[in-house]
């Protein structure tokens, strides 16, 4: 490990924002130093409470995250925020409109905000988000809020990297059904019906509760919390439920079990990423594998036969692994 990287990690562990920011960039850009950084911070992980906030577009997730942050800060807790924004094809960067609202927190040393674009992470966005959560945890943040826009598979997978998942819905007819269709009921630890001043809030709550009644009894009863985030109504109630969920997770041994599974998953993912990188290098290279791939691209060999031959051929495989 270079002295430079060692200093970066030391500063990160002290909670220094610039180092944290640099380390996150290294992770996003898949820098060679990432493995060393992760090894070094590993003993310092598992203290933060990681809270996921997801739901349909327009449900008011950013406002909810904003108000939760203000509440956590009032209690003297430090906060890390990861906002996963879809990449805009026109600006080339993340769509940051919603972030403008968060400006008040940018001046606060106790809050660290990072937007992540949804595009182009080799190990997959959920794995990158999981690594960034660990960096925030290692930097000493008490709470980590992860907000995802959208309702797709990657977004659901990101939520599974958090301890407590808050699914936010609008009080509009059919929103609960859409949430079910999007697979959000499966991952929710807490439901929020936001914009409670809008018509239809009561019936939304009833819809969700009706669906929740169909579940098998579990170690956790999923509560439905009603908020008006924009007017700061219901945020304390929501936070109490979030804190209770973490407590129950811990008391029932669920938290320890999840962390154990996550470590196994991280191992498999890390090996996979490293092997894939080697494979891609070998394909780009001048070796035997590189020229073999050209034949696949031209359609002379089909990809499935080629994969089989590569894995059977000691020569091609060692060409690959020795990169």
């Amino acid at each position: 490990m270079t002295t430079h990287t060692m200093r970066l990690v030391d500063d990160l562990l002290k909670g220094e924002s610039i180092s944290l920011s640099r380390a996150i960039s290294l992770v996003e850009n898949e820098g060679d130093e990432v493995l060393e950084i992760m090894q070094r911070i590993a003993p310092h992980l598992g203290k933060a409470h990681c809270i996921g906030v997801t739901g349909a577009p327009g449900a008011g997730k950013s406002t909810l995250v904003d108000k939760l942050t203000a509440l956590l800060r009032k209690q003297g807790l430090t906060v890390g925020i990861i906002a996963v924004d879809p990449t805009s094809p026109f600006t080339g960067g993340a769509v940051l409109g919603d972030r403008i609202r968060m400006q008040q927190h940018y001046l606060d040393d106790g809050v660290f905000i990072r937007s992540m674009a949804t595009r182009g992470s080799m190990g997959g966005l959920p794995q990158t988000a999981s690594t960034v959560i660990k960096l925030l945890d290692a930097s000493g943040k008490d709470a980590i809020l992860v907000e995802t826009v959208g309702v797709g598979q990657s977004e659901v997978d990101i939520m599974q990297k958090t301890d407590t998942v808050v699914v936010t819905l609008c009080p509009e007819s059919g929103d609960a059904i859409q949430a079910m269709k999007a697979g959000l009921l499966e991952i929710a630890d807490i439901f929020v019906v936001n914009k409670a001043d809008h018509p239809g809030a009561d019936s939304s709550v009833r819809d969700i509760q009706a669906m929740l009644h169909m579940r098998e009894p579990s170690w956790w009863d999923i509560p439905v919390v009603v908020t008006e985030a924009i007017n700061d109504v219901g945020i304390e109630d929501l936070y109490e439920r979030i804190a209770l969920h973490r407590q129950v997770l811990s008391d029932t041994g669920q938290l320890a079990q999840r962390r154990q599974l996550q470590r196994r998953f991280d191992l498999v993912k890390t090996v996979e990423q490293k092997l894939t990188r080697k494979l891609l290098q070998a394909i780009e290279g001048d070796g035997q594998l590189g020229s073999y791939i050209e034949r696949v691209e031209k359609g002379e060999v089909d990809p499935y036969t080629a994969a089989d031959e590569i894995l059977r051929s000691g020569k091609l495989l060692s060409d690959w692994l020795s990169q």
Copy 2:
């Protein structure tokens, strides 16, 4: 290759529906026969026009697919439909409400419909969808329609496996902005503003066109088509644009280039999947690797150090690859 699998592939290539259905199930369940099936159908691929239909929930995608199917059938073309449905946590299966509408086509031999759940495919949902598209192509379908609900990363990735992407929007204020935030503008080849009888359709079209004007000039001008799918209005116009897009793709050499990249991608993915499967088997096994993983789960070794050691250790790696 067993005679059984050979017969399955032969029947599939003849367009036989039951064999097609069985082959898709084998792909979804990651059966050992998949590699052989793919090798055998590889020479028969690339004839179908694959059309992706995506957009915000409630935009009328299923109706659009329904009406497009009817139009294609009138022209004597055969159709394969892949509907990617989020898995319901309550029923354990896909949420099939929208499919009921498609019933008329279930009795038609020229239409093959398959719902795919969003959960649990090891190689990732986009890769599974890509393989199923190939099976439909090999079975001789002239057109393949792939419909995804939701606006997430996986859904966007699935669309990138198709030739022509139709992004469907509702004429509601802000829908175009939401589409941009969801990254849909980046992948659209054609925009549809559906439910054109609803208020706000004109301004939606203007919003999209304004955004499209900000793009760099390209080999393809993205059209905005107005439809009322439920009343069968605008479907022919839409289909003309879809056919034109395919023509231009082909004439400009884009299609050949995409297919070439896809073959390379399929090779890397196949090698990756096979190696990961071996890794997971080795971890579950009694070998040296299995006991090493226990130490990772307990937190005695961190996952990053472990990954590094596995890849450096000839013994652990061969324990793995020899599985």
